[in-house]
Amino acid sequence: MLPPHGGTLVNRLVPEGNRPHLNEEAAEMPSISVTEEFRKDMECVAYGIFSPLVGPLNRDDYTAVLEKGRLTKGHPWTFPIVLDVPEETASRIKVGDDVALTLEGEAFSILHVEDKYSWDRKAHAQSVYSTLDMDHPGVSKTYEMGPVLLGGSIDLFNETQGKFSDYRLKPIETRVLFKSKGWRTIAGFQTRNAPHVGHEYVQKTALAFTDGLFINPLIGKKKAGDFTDEVIIDTYTTLFDNYYLRNTATLVTLEMEMRYAGPREAIFHAICRKNYGCTHFIVGRDHAGVGNYYGPYEAQEKFSEFPDLGVTPIFFRSFFYCKKCGGVQNDKVCPHGPEEHLNFKGREMRSMLMNGERPSELLMRPEVVDAILRHTEPFVK
């Protein structure tokens, strides 16, 4: 089994027996109110999905991530996981303090504060998103963040159930799962979409040379126009029931937000899947992109900077349905012209579905279309 990133699977989840005690202690501590997305990030830390991180980044690691895409110890890490706070909150917290992290008044974790530092929004946005355009969702979010960052380690004592708890597994569990299934090589697939036939083609092609397929949709905050979490789960369970073998493919959710950081997020996504136990990671066209901020294959090119990532990327170019070939093809193998091709245009398919229309069966499985159309609001508003 592939070792976790950094060699050790981080576990910052307090054993059940100690949780009531820590909950009481937290009530006496200064507290910091955080967002739901940050709480999910801390669950990712606690479960080891973000190994080797043990909490929000300290200044040195933060700087190294921005400048080199690595932690100070050298491990690849491309997306900065940080806790931003307003000046007023920062003024009542000092390095060495233990503080309670809360969401809507409920404490869920203790943060052992090891660092408190100011940061530069412009440098952050430019480095992470490669743009300062405020229309980019990551850039606008950056400019809404507080002026001070707190770094340190956490002990999480209050977990959320998860939106789809039956599909939510921790890395320690997926590692046992893969071993139980006898999978030595596993291809991870990241998604925030209902599947069309092109996705199925990519997944099954990767499965042709690995033992198992790990489909791992992101459940959490997404931009308007994306499929809702409920639609993603319904469509994938439908696809599994009709077109996948249970002994070679599995569906597990990952509760965290999309960040739309393109190439940097692709590396970050690969690291998360490595921690789940994946040996391979599928990277398609414009992975984690938004608008036209990144080149179609920029995310794939980014992997060449990290030969020590430990997880092998599987790159896919654009694909289409070729009427002449009678199947999904790509420009490397299909000799026919564009007049024979049906393209998988996500925007067009979403627009048809929005009007209650059915995309061609050559592009989307009828069972998947049915599953989408059963939802009155299939898209994020």
């Binding site: 070792p3 950094g6 050790t8 690595r70 597994l169 569990e173 046992v176 900077e305 030969p307 430990g310």
Partner: protein, 70 residues
């Protein structure tokens, strides 16, 4: 052999291999050949087992309950 009072050890690798690694990491964020070799090796050998036998059994029970395994 590990050196006293240190958590690292010295190994020797052929000069030509060293040179090849140096060329490979040029322009990347690796700061040294040592850095590169350590990262590569870390991916081969986990620092500690990820779960105990007891944990494995408990996890299998949950996986069975959820229908992931039989």
């Amino acid at each position: 052999m590990p050196e006293k009072n240190s958590d690292s050890s010295t190994i020797k690798i052929p000069h030509d291999l060293y040179k090849k690694i140096e060329e490979k990491i040029e322009g990347t964020s690796f700061t040294s050949v040592e850095d590169y070799v350590v990262r590569k090796m870390e991916n081969e050998f986990p620092a500690e087992p990820v779960y105990s036998k007891e944990e494995e059994e408990l996890i299998k029970e949950r996986l069975r309950r959820l229908g992931y395994i039989e």
